[in-house]
Symmetry: C2
Subunit: 335 residues, 2 copies
Amino acid sequence: MDPINIRQLAEKLNLSVSTVSKAFRNSYDINPQTRERILALARELNYQPNPAAASLRTQQSKTLAVILPAIDNTFFVQALKGIETVARQRGYHVLIYVSYDDHDQEVALTNSLQRGRIDGVLMSIADAGKDLGHLSELGAKGIPVVFFDRVYEHDDHFQVTTNDRESAYSATAHLLGLGCRRIAHLTLDRSLSIADRRRQGYLDALRDYGIAEDPDLVFACPVDAEQKYEALHAFLARERPEAVFSSFENLALLTYQACASLALRIPQDLKIISFSNLEAAPLLSPALSTVHQRAYEIGSSASGILIDLIEQKPTPGFRKLSLPATLELRTSTIG
Amino acid sequence: MDPINIRQLAEKLNLSVSTVSKAFRNSYDINPQTRERILALARELNYQPNPAAASLRTQQSKTLAVILPAIDNTFFVQALKGIETVARQRGYHVLIYVSYDDHDQEVALTNSLQRGRIDGVLMSIADAGKDLGHLSELGAKGIPVVFFDRVYEHDDHFQVTTNDRESAYSATAHLLGLGCRRIAHLTLDRSLSIADRRRQGYLDALRDYGIAEDPDLVFACPVDAEQKYEALHAFLARERPEAVFSSFENLALLTYQACASLALRIPQDLKIISFSNLEAAPLLSPALSTVHQRAYEIGSSASGILIDLIEQKPTPGFRKLSLPATLELRTSTIG
DNA sequence: TTGAAAGCGCTAACAA
DNA sequence: TTGTTAGCGCTTTCAA
């Protein structure tokens, strides 16, 4: 029942604890036969080294923390898959923390991250418009951090993102190419690296097509739960855009709902394209055109870079890695 | 940079380490002013107790492991949300492990769970048809486990599930009530507590409506990636059921695809209802009727029970908690 | 190739 | 109310 420790194991073998310890970290200065004998008995007695003790001694926990703004979101789920897979391959455990898009929770969470429990942090931030002192504190504790997707724009940090500006540009250009002129942009009501870049791509495309920017056509959705749908509904009813480019999946889904309520037909009355990794996008009514991010790769790369950092392996010379998104055009724009 | 330890903190305060230690676990035998003085300096110097050391000493890590068969699945994501929320409220950290529906990975994962790293395990199993010795080993290590959704049918263990049989019955009865007679059932190609119960609900409903069971109408989908769609497509083409009751979300989505390819109209040619927590279900073409599980509550309850178990608090007298699902009827059946 | 021993940072029993 | 101290289980240096 109670797990045995290394000393009891050593005693049963008439060996010293140091020899037994060596067997588990296949040190070279150990007799292969001794090693086998040790491992065999360990298996039999179900001995497993106590990770807390090892961690205390070696000052490494083989554990990463992942801090996400949300989890019920196809992008983050797929990124998490990438993170978990690489971490496990390399012998790391993954602690998950969700800030629920709340800056204060993110701060509390980050500050509670102790040296000793984790070796590094993967992070997608909730709101870059707030005080980001908690991120510097992580650095001050000597904990390596890699940001992904919703990054902290700071040259000192590694980050893995999508080519947000370029793919937002392509999505907008796609709508422009279809002849749309009144193109609305849906984004979030807060400062976010990715939101800024996607909006920039939208604006750049408008400019290149000689369309004047109309601030009324940019809808920055309040993040707080309830009002979202009402606000978006009112916006669409008021502005009656010909097309919508949405930077966030959930805003696209809300637009579908609002269109039903407003009796707007997609794509005849309103075309829509959105950043989204929703697997069911082709099955929506109508099938949703998406900007599809390489979520799994973003997660796996970020995870790999973080572990390299922790293990002081050579890391990429550039600190910013950007993976291209792909446009997946469907009926909601090309019906 | 390098974090200071409790001794250094104590020295700076001219106090002993034990007094300082007490301040952090608001022990009663400490002067409130001393306590304040300690906490103030700790804040200033950014001192945080080393969790590995505490864990080694107290034999508890304040960490739970969650083992899931999949993560890109609305049910598990929502359950995870419930788990994480409750865990955090109660001061626990959450390690996440994904078995990717692979029994061998699950075994490896489970066996690698060490006493000392985690205080307890939340688990949804990959395949109950295989050797489940690894689960007993967890018990042998004295690690408490709570199963949820895909549970290990064993009276010794706590489990939190949906009322699978009953809701499967209702879903099937709904189709029968619409006049359908050739009702297919989609399930997975493996032994799974929930699959068995849902199938039973389906069979019970058929029987109560006086319909003979037709084994050809039960499609047990291979879990391996590639062949899934082909197999399902062939099944639908061959059997031409009037309706489908699916026990798993992804099979419903595949059915939508297959219907498009077979030029079957939903619901005119084929009605479909499925277990699913997909947020976009109302937006599908057509809107999907679902059996919606209380995923968040299942996760939060399981998490709460596990922590009670760990902390030796009184746990529910009954070991099996079942939360009812709700039928959400939409166009795919009542079009 | 093996072993002795120090010590990682903390908690808790006990003494003062 | 505060302090002394043993020891949680492991790794690692150094000696044998």
